[in-house]
């Protein structure tokens, strides 16, 4: 799942907004949202897979924060954008001449 799809879910977007304002532990997020701790963990796992957040261990807790490596995320987005564009192009260009 990419960053855009990951943020389509309102709960995930709220969680992401919370961790970008400052790094937070799962329990801190669960305290301010009507969502269980395991559910928060699930959402964070997805955000991490999408490259939007990174985590680190701090004692027994896991702290999540926004992923500062934006360039990598940008490359992923553009790769998909241009790949889609060239696939569209191939479909268009290989149609019979009279259609184009």
């Amino acid at each position: 799942m990419d960053g855009w799809a990951a943020l389509a879910d309102p709960t995930r977007r709220t969680i992401f907004e919370l961790v970008v304002t400052r790094p937070r532990a799962v329990v801190e997020i669960a305290e301010v949202l009507p969502v269980s701790r395991p559910a928060v963990s699930q959402h964070l796992k997805l955000l991490k897979t999408a490259g939007l957040v990174v985590d680190r261990a701090e004692g027994t807790r896991r702290i999540y924060q926004a992923n500062p490596d934006g360039l990598r995320e940008l490359r992923v987005q553009l790769e998909r954008f241009w790949t889609d564009a060239l696939v569209n192009f191939k479909q268009l260009v290989e149609q019979p001449e009279e259609d184009t």
Binding site: R13, G70, N88, F89, L92, V93
Partner: protein
């Protein structure tokens, strides 16, 4: 079709079974059919995406209400082998007003057999956008930093929906 990413560029290519002249012509004339629609920087639906076929030409989206959003300029127009245009869109899919933070896209049309053209696309100098990310990173502590970025991100998402 292969896709390859390097640190500061994205490269992708595709082979089409037509001559370079036709590939070049359709890429520029029918750009509207090629550009994916999911990222829209206009407040309204896109009616058409236009690639003006000359050096110095504009690359822009036109909305259904007639409004326009120019997000690129043609740097090289060399039929039937090559085009280069600027990419004036920030990493959060907003127009980039700072000329220093623009990347560029080169498309090469290489006819390597009769009726067979390899189309190579390179989107390079992505590190120029990186300045923007550094700025955003520096702004994390400030109230207007990440929240502002998020607002724009959310707005772009809504536009894309």
């Amino acid at each position: 079709m292969t896709t390859q990413a390097q640190d500061t560029s994205v490269r992708t290519e595709i082979v089409v079974n037509v001559r370079a002249e036709r590939a070049f012509r359709l890429f520029t004339e029918r750009f509207d059919r090629i550009k994916p629609r999911e990222h829209n920087m206009l407040g309204v639906d896109i009616a058409e995406s236009v690639f003006e076929p000359r050096t110095g030409g504009r690359v822009y989206d036109r909305g259904v209400d007639g409004s326009e959003c120019q997000w690129g300029r043609v740097l090289a127009y060399e039929p039937p082998t090559r085009i280069v245009f600027t990419w004036e869109i920030s990493p959060i899919w907003q127009l980039e007003p700072d000329p220093a933070k623009r990347s560029e896209v080169e498309v090469r049309f290489v006819e390597d057999a009769p009726e067979r053209t390899r189309v190579e696309l390179e989107h390079r100098h992505l590190d120029r956008h990186g300045d923007g990310w550094d700025g955003l990173r520096a702004g994390v502590a400030a109230d207007e930093g990440w929240p502002l970025y998020l607002q724009r991100f959310a707005a772009a998402l809504d536009d894309a929906a």
